[in-house]
Symmetry: C2
Subunit: 458 residues, 2 copies
């Protein structure tokens, strides 16, 4: 698999193969379901036999892999696993948890992690076979997002514990594109070198893409006039929300492809926005993806109904997730896309985390969307919080933030006005913004809880 | 070459192949010289025919590739190139200079850069063929430094514009070791996860290795008792200087291998300290390395005499350096090493940049060594400067630095004393330290000029 390239008979308008793996990506959905069932049964037998975490969990729920004879059985009978369970198991069985295969020295390709709210990061170990397979999957996803061997892919993700940027590098490398990775902190340099080198693709979080719009404006750089034609965004929800995407696409003069995922499922990047603009394809023969009732994770919802996402690694063996429920919300469209791929789509990507969603005057508000908006205002510092109060029968919210080091002293009211405008643009509702003295809001780590809930406990 | 592994008949005490490429690494030096000459002639003909920068330079000096019939001819007749010339050429012929091959879209694997003093970074483009070859070279060098497929290699270099960390990743990946890359800023996390995951190799700058000694002390972590057995250090001179190496090796309870290079020669990592502790091997059949008179770069010096380093890419085609003089100082030992490799060695690595060296009371002082010392004192901030004054007939120096955010207010004199102790340990001479108010010394970029020379101009 290591040196594989595209396998596609069809070609696109530039003469490149149209698909990374035409047979696989355009397969009849019924046939694909048969393959998925085989892999589901294989993975269930494997994790029950080899990984103590799963055996204990399934035994406790009276579930046995032999009960699964159809994909429907899988959804309705297999108990989910959650982040909380993984954290507890990894604390008890360090360093990778008893849901990880017992990996010998020399079997692991990569170790990564994600910051926990407790300060102890969750660790991910990827076997060499899994890492190699994931490289091919990532290339397939990036190909779907329009990346080709003659692209210069500039990467603006951080390269550290966090998995994201490393996967982008691995996928683009497998495609044979030119890679130009640059630290996320170097915003002016990103823009300057993008122009100098003629980068054609930029990959970062939606927030960072929005932030760079402001930096470009400050520097007088004409972003729509530059060579970037495609943005690969991910690492947080929002990149597929129509409002956010519109801000990004118009500001950059480029199309944006959302590639949201979670560290638990990474480096298997299997959700990627189609170049047709029809939403985010799900490579369900690699990571099987279900949408179920938020309050009953064994009850599927129909196509186009909102629900909770549940993911399953069909091929990973080092630390496989079987019915992992990250708490994300989305809805599916199962009609065949114009691009010819027969995978289901999330028309608006991952909408946000169910736990975090607020309902304000009838509008669903995700803290990530508030962040997206605030990041477009260069005068603001990095910290903010969302205060939610009960006013009569309604919930109301206020956003508190601070001036950043780039702001002129005394520019609070101007910055607050710009923040309110940005929030209106992204959230479609008007939200008051209070500017606090710099340093008032405590500094946060990578994944912060931004919401201060002052509503009476029910 | 892509999927190659070690080619070695001999094995080491653990049953691994002793060499990455036994035939190549243990070749008779006379035979190797013949191969080197062939490649020198090939590269000279190539750059003269294809790269305008070289043709202009050689024509201006009345040099023609046909004049080189021996390795001695090469050293004595080919004019050197310098950083200054490369910067001027790249400014005139952006983005990669007329010393770069005209690379088409899809031919470049990686773009990296190094920060210039002017603020405009120098850009490096590595063709796909060069990147692939460099991966094998890097694996060969790391294998020489003792890295094996069962190692967990934790990387503490920044991953951005700077090339260094990416090469470490590529080499270790080719060996098949486990990679754990982590951002340089996360010092406590580095130490915590090193212990949790059982990392066996740590790779960073010498300064950062010394900095982590202080962090470990503060946290009460027993570094010599942990699993790290080998340090791969580079990115700045000093890692092979006996004093600095002693501080690092004793503090970590691990052996340190210096792998100094320059961005211009990268990703061809061809200088790497031997596990035998005999110095830094130079893979001169990949990057031909000469030591010449500092004031006549066409005059070779004998073995063990100090001089200026001159490098030549024998295989790179994308942006080849032919007799590149970075201004570094070193000396060579040409005796065959105990490890069996027949390459010459730099017994103390690169000693520093000739331009930067100070002579204080008879001692050669490199600013990098001052930095190495100061980095071991956790109370200090990141900035410092070295004031050099004429006192009678002698040069004297004072180091100015500041308290960092971690320091208790009022702890200036204690911090100054600790800084003076650290300088004495590394430089072997006593140097007074002045603590300035935080914020006094202007912030510097990646490669700072630390020396303030107050001596009368002669």
């Amino acid at each position: 698999m290591g040196a594989s390239g595209p396998r596609s008979v069809s070609t696109d308008e530039r003469g490149f193969p149209r698909y990374w793996d035409e047979e696989r990506e355009t397969l009849d959905p019924g046939k694909r379901e048969g393959l998925i069932l085989e892999r589901i049964q294989h993975q269930l037998a494997y994790v029950y036999a080899e990984l103590p975490f799963y055996r204990r969990h399934y035994d406790a729920h009276g579930f046995h892999p032999a009960q699964v004879r159809s994909v429907e059985d899988f959804t309705t009978k297999v108990p989910v696993i959650t982040k909380k369970m993984l954290i507890a198991d990894q604390a008890e069985y360090p360093p990778y948890g008893s849901y990880a295969r017992d990996l010998k020295a020399g079997e692991i390709a990569r170790i990564h992690g994600s910051s926990g709210t407790s300060g102890t990061p969750t660790m991910y170990a990827v076997s060499k076979a899994d890492w190699d397979r994931a490289g091919d999957v990532h290339a397939m996803a990036q190909w779907c997002a329009g990346i080709r061997p003659d692209d210069i892919v500039q990467v603006g993700f951080p390269f550290g514990l966090f998995f994201g940027g490393w996967g982008v590098v691995q996928g683009a490398e497998r495609i044979g594109a030119t890679l130009f990775p640059l630290a996320i902190t170097e915003s002016e340099r990103h823009l300057e070198l993008m122009a100098r080198l003629g980068s054609t693709v930029f990959s970062a979080t939606p927030s960072y893409c929005i932030h760079l719009l402001s930096v470009a404006e400050k520097l007088g750089i004409d972003l729509p006039g530059n060579t970037v034609r495609r943005l690969l965004v991910g690492g947080e929800p929002g990149g597929a929300l129509p409002n956010t995407r519109k801000v990004i696409e118009e500001g950059w003069g480029a199309t944006a492809a959302d590639c949201g995922s979670t560290s638990e499922m990474y480096p298997f990047q299997t959700s990627v926005a189609c170049t047709e603009g029809t939403g985010t394809h799900l490579y369900i023969d690699e990571v099987f993806t279900e949408v179920v009732e938020a309050d009953d994770l064994n009850a599927p919802v129909p196509a186009r109904a909102r629900g909770a996402v549940v993911y399953t690694h069909l091929w990973r063996d080092s630390q496989p997730m079987i019915r992992f429920a990250p708490g994300d919300e989305t809805y599916l469209d199962t009609e065949t896309c114009r691009c010819g791929r027969t995978y289901p789509r999330m028309p608006e990507g991952v909408l946000g985390r169910l736990d975090d969603m607020l309902v304000i005057r009838g509008a669903n508000v995700f803290p990530s969307a508030v962040e997206t908006a605030l990041r477009s205002v260069p005068e603001l510092g990095p910290e903010f919080r969302i205060l939610v109060r009960r006013v009569g029968a309604m919930d109301e919210m206020t956003v508190q933030t601070e001036l950043g080091p780039a702001a002129a002293p005394g520019s609070e009211s101007e910055a607050a006005r710009r923040a309110e405008d940005a929030l209106k643009r992204v959230l479609q509702i008007r939200v008051p913004v209070e500017l606090l003295a710099p340093g008032t809001i405590p500094e946060t780590t990578f994944k912060a809880r931004r919401v201060v809930d002052e509503r009476p406990k029910s």
